[in-house]
Amino acid sequence: MDGMQLAGGVPMAGRADDRDGLTLDQLHVPLGPLLPLWPPGLVVRTKLQGDVIQQAAVEVLGIGDARGDAFWLRPGRPLKARWLDASAALLAIAGWADAAAVARRLRDQVLTGTPQAEIAGPIRRWGRQVRRSRTLPWLLTGVGQVPDKPSTPRALAGDALTRLYRWVDSLADPKTSVAPPDVADGTPWAVDVLPSVLEGCELATARLIVASLDLDTDMLTVCEAHHG
């Protein structure tokens, strides 16, 4: 193999052991910081073999230079809107464009202050539609299962499907509608646990997992500010 010029300046991939016992080429692919439906500022540096993530390193850009002001913590941003937002992102990445579009529309209505009585019905209808789907559990079960430890935030336990169902159920719960935004956020924990969850997954599942963990990179800045 003489003449090792590089095609377009891309170096040849290195090789390493992999899951199937074949020493295949490694490819370094960064995910983020800017992708549609991706937490802004989040960068996941992956080492891929085929489309399987062998190693992942998570980094959040822009912590420290923010104003300690998170979008979802501002007044008039009920928790409900945030759950709708998270569900919309997850559904969109799962490829259910229509259900995602409905969730997004409902979120906008919540944020613009549509009265509770008017919006409760549509939200319940949408929730029923999501819970009734039989393909969705089939596709999401076992995706992004987080370790079950005492330190695991209750809101993030389980896999992508249980998290989505948790959002959907709490949206149907009348108490959620008045709940204030939550400062005790799971994001720092999720960022810590993300690399270990991503390893061994396929590249595409990575995006489902990130969406299902509902990372709010703004919140990291807030936490940073709180702890000094």
């Binding site: 193999m1 003489d2 003449g3 090792m4 010029q5 590089l6 095609a7 377009g8 891309v10 170096p11 040849m12 991939a13 899951r19 199937d20 016992g21 074949l22 295949l24 080429d25 085929g50 089939w138 076992g142 061994g200 396929e202």
Partner: protein, 187 residues
């Protein structure tokens, strides 16, 4: 007349793309050059009224080449496939042998007095083929089927490194297999 033209176009295309397989730099291009060569050759098969077999060659070859390209890249990764490469041994000798073979074959082709047939073509060649395969040539068909089945088993055994003890545990008592990726049937 038009058959003559189409034949020569297909023949030239088939040989040129066949040569290109070993001349281009990228594995992807090599595979698809081979595919083009097959498609041109299938064109000549279609010209002699073998519709079914010609189309079958097209179908099989596209599938095979697409699968081939996957393996190709798996074992010979090459960014964008545009890096020049040569991986040959004994090029001159091979070339000489190949040209020699062609010369011998070509002389043979033009020296031998080939038999011709005035027998009429069957109404439907495909039907004739099917009847032959299910009738006098049944034994061959059975052998082919067995060979294909043996190939399936043998290739899976050769290519995989995880047996059922890896999947179901040493006593084969696991309820659901321990696979890196779960399947869809929910076992």
């Amino acid at each position: 007349m038009w058959r003559e033209i189409v034949f020569w176009l297909c023949a030239a295309g088939s040989v040129i793309t066949g040569v290109a397989v070993f001349r281009v730099d990228s594995m992807a291009r090599a595979t698809f050059a081979l595919l083009a060569s097959f498609l041109f050759a299938a064109g000549t098969v279609l010209l002699v009224d073998l519709t079914y077999l010609g189309v079958l060659v097209i179908l099989m070859m596209i599938m095979e080449m697409v699968i081939m390209v996957v393996f190709m890249l798996m074992y010979m990764m090459n960014p964008a496939g545009l890096m020049p490469m040569t991986m040959v041994h004994n090029q001159k000798g091979s070339l000489a042998i190949a040209i020699g073979t062609f010369a011998v074959l070509a002389t043979g082709i033009y020296l031998i007095d080939w038999p011709t047939s005035s027998a009429p073509q069957p109404e439907d060649p495909t039907m004739a083929l099917g009847e032959a395969l299910m009738g006098p040539k049944m034994l061959m068909m059975i052998v082919l089927g067995l060979a294909l089945f043996a190939t399936i088993v043998a290739t899976v055994v050769l290519a995989t490194h995880r047996g059922r003890y890896d999947r179901y545990g040493d006593r084969l008592d696991r309820d659901r297999p321990d696979d890196p990726v779960r399947g869809g049937v929910g076992r």
